[in-house]
Symmetry: D2
Subunit: 310 residues, 4 copies
Amino acid sequence: MPASYAYLGPEGTFTEAALRTLPEAATRNLVPYVSVQSALDAVRVGEAEAAFVPIENSVEGGITTTLDELVAGTPLMIYREVLLSITFALLVRPGTKLADIKTVSAHPAAQPQVRNWLKANLPDAHWESAASNADAARLVQEGQYDAAFAGEFAAALYGLEVLESGIHDAENAQTRFVLVGRPARPAAPTGADKTSVVLWQRDDHPGGLRDLLGEFATRGINLMLLQSRPTGAGIGNYCFCIDAEGHISDRRVAEALMGLKRICLEVRFLGSYPRADVTAKDVSAPRPGTSDEEFVAASEWVARCQDGRF
Amino acid sequence: MPASYAYLGPEGTFTEAALRTLPEAATRNLVPYVSVQSALDAVRVGEAEAAFVPIENSVEGGITTTLDELVAGTPLMIYREVLLSITFALLVRPGTKLADIKTVSAHPAAQPQVRNWLKANLPDAHWESAASNADAARLVQEGQYDAAFAGEFAAALYGLEVLESGIHDAENAQTRFVLVGRPARPAAPTGADKTSVVLWQRDDHPGGLRDLLGEFATRGINLMLLQSRPTGAGIGNYCFCIDAEGHISDRRVAEALMGLKRICLEVRFLGSYPRADVTAKDVSAPRPGTSDEEFVAASEWVARCQDGRF
Amino acid sequence: MPASYAYLGPEGTFTEAALRTLPEAATRNLVPYVSVQSALDAVRVGEAEAAFVPIENSVEGGITTTLDELVAGTPLMIYREVLLSITFALLVRPGTKLADIKTVSAHPAAQPQVRNWLKANLPDAHWESAASNADAARLVQEGQYDAAFAGEFAAALYGLEVLESGIHDAENAQTRFVLVGRPARPAAPTGADKTSVVLWQRDDHPGGLRDLLGEFATRGINLMLLQSRPTGAGIGNYCFCIDAEGHISDRRVAEALMGLKRICLEVRFLGSYPRADVTAKDVSAPRPGTSDEEFVAASEWVARCQDGRF
Amino acid sequence: MPASYAYLGPEGTFTEAALRTLPEAATRNLVPYVSVQSALDAVRVGEAEAAFVPIENSVEGGITTTLDELVAGTPLMIYREVLLSITFALLVRPGTKLADIKTVSAHPAAQPQVRNWLKANLPDAHWESAASNADAARLVQEGQYDAAFAGEFAAALYGLEVLESGIHDAENAQTRFVLVGRPARPAAPTGADKTSVVLWQRDDHPGGLRDLLGEFATRGINLMLLQSRPTGAGIGNYCFCIDAEGHISDRRVAEALMGLKRICLEVRFLGSYPRADVTAKDVSAPRPGTSDEEFVAASEWVARCQDGRF
């Protein structure tokens, strides 16, 4: 029996579609879970090899339920990320025409993406929220609503027809998903990698956060995400989920993490993994003075000084 | 007819309870709105003098719907903040006993706060989510559910009894609310003030965010909130909602804002207003070199140098 | 009777030659003094309108006697600077040939500049130090030595002949001189200006000096000189003489000085004056965010925020 | 035959007195040299095991001839430092009384230290500069002058009497001397150490020097000396001689040096050696996050993360 990947279900959602873009997904048993928490718990207890969940999108930013699960509890690690462009199809029972549609349904998160389309094409349709876009499709199949906004791939699953596709109010609407597993050696660096950490400040003083970010900045490391999350110690107490360029095996990243470890109350390493947005050939060279070669040379030079040989 | 304050309804929620702690609320017409957006729009179009909405809580951090409304659209300003400790009461129809309760309801946000209490006291009760805690109370009144978790103050409104009060899983659970109006002169400084801004980076490079925070840090200004929000330009593009110590009429704050204005693509001023967590006597003195007196003295000294009189 | 300019004498030195490059020198009574201290004191007591003294050269760096005089005592200000390329002529009594020269003399500072030439051309000549190059020339005139290294212009003054000119071991040997007066309004900015200050740290802690330099760096201001000088409070206690790009009437410079004034124990303004090395057309534009226009715009924006008009 | 220590002569100077405070000096052949350069060259060519020269004093700051010799040429290393308080004795031929003194002599550097004493006690005495204080004493012995200012220890050497001792205008007048040898393993750390380096900037831009100092500051390392010296590439081009707290075997110092090595054009290590001003018990603990233990722990943590074991 193959190992299983838990994912945020139900079937037919964008999450499943994104997961299926991973080659290894074809050899795993893909199991939908009702929540991010339950999918990640399946990994923690060993029920699943990994979990595939959304972590960031272009409308909501960092997805807090996922971040909060990664920030707390038994440590987990991110091994892969997938970027999926989000465009909606309008799914109907076979034979339904645009003029027949009185009710439409989808997950509330879909609403900002289809609002303009609705106003232009179905100004009088009544909106009903569903627990997921796939659920909305199911309810259309069952005759409760006339049409659902969902990924085009959901049509076949629920015996529906695509009446319109490519619906998206915002250009560049994307969701980022991650494959999360139990801690193990990170994937080898590809030259276009990302490192995720959570930082807790030792104390709160002017410049505290600036100094944390300085550990990245002074080593020429760009940040891709900075999301504050409550620590649970009361309002105004935050930790910081950070995605930074580079791989923990890059010397500049390793030294930045060491610096953070020394000055933070706590640092949680969430993994180093290949970037989904670019490949190595598109990544600009490290800033002068921050390449692995320069780190090694500097380290050897100090060793020689310590020995008096120079 | 008195001016009206819009607030996130319905009646009987914590938002209303928080709003009523403001003395001026007694002289206004308090009008519930169905969403943060509609409450703020009421201010924008002049239908309400101000809107009162939640902006941060100890579980969720920054409340993104509120922040996103303040970040975009016609500029608004924050004039007051209120901190409310969140503890729940279990509300039932008169005569209901604990043993009678089969179904409980509340807004989903209440669930993490009452989970332990439920497990210990009503392990078999079925949870049904409601649109708000007040709605849950109304549904109990109408007989649909047996009990609702809501603020104690909601009991009278819906003819219910408090079967248990002071329910809260997490200590220090608090929500912060703000009173938002159209731009006008900020309230006078009290000595314990807070300034809110939104920052958009000019470009994205290593150290960019560190340098923005440096404008506060070098002037000894502590930050209370740093919440990234998507700019709408695609995944990974963020602006930053920041709450900083001090008032825009404090010289160190004014100069920090000027510095940000110069190096940011855009800065949106969201107001300077009294802090709800402390009063002036609890605020530590500005770091040496950052008091108003020192700013004034330095400015006068430079003016004298420019004139050659020293 | 014209106002007089004091200068570091005697007549016939590079200092006098440099002074005569200033157009206004033609209208002043130029008076040699025996020391930098006496020349500056002449200004302090009102005996001279200004003093012209060397302040930096490419071999010695900052000239400490001049810097120490400017750092302490009654405040003075720099109004002009002059750069002079230093090449030596070998001066002899008329008729003297190279083969006749047994003794050469000059100020000790000349020695590093003529050492190679001596080795190649007069390997057996005996060196005798003189109080100044001009004094060496005078002693040659009086027959005490056979040849003097001095500026070519000194030949006529002492009735000597130039046996060889253009002698200089180091390329780019230059000395910088300054015209120093009593405090008054600085010269108008030219677009290629320099500002000189002396900084005393408030206390000594890791990062103290870094933070002082940060006041320049965060405003895009380059430094041209950083020379530490003892404060007189015991070994290891230093103040810092700094030359920075720009004019005190530039907003970025004014704000940097204000910042320094606030965080330093003491700041002494030594003047803003035109650079001698470049003209306005060769100066690169201020870094984005640091131009006068951007400072003014930022200041006006904050004023509007303070008024609630935006 | 014992190894020899070269020192800046002649005999009877403060340099010799300072050298004799080193226990190992008793077992070496102490050889005076006429200049700092010749003493250091004796080490470079293997004629002497080490050279003992002044490097900083409370009046002049960094002694540029010594610094320039260490900055350029074949690398040398500092192994020890000695601090000597400078007070002068007035030395006379036996039998001379104060009223007999018409001429006094000393090295010009002594003048600022004895000026007030002279004014009060010998207002009419004529000052004659000598090449060294010891030379002045010799010239008194030979009858050329009536009195010399020199170290009390010079009296015996030249057959003179101490007429007055403890003469010093400035309190805390001290000179710092260093023992310089060929590169070898630095002395073991004592807990109160100092590390000397020379830094050349890669390029000159706003914030360049600030960033160099940041390598020390972010690791909690205090600086004791920052002396700019011309690079020889023309006026305004400087390298920086820096003395920093700590020993190259301290992790925070080693990492700071690595950082400098990466971002500087060149770094010259001048040694780590015990501080003469304090002992380990007077040195404050490293700033939190910068102790060796914390560096080691952070390094091990990153190694564990790289292996996925945490």
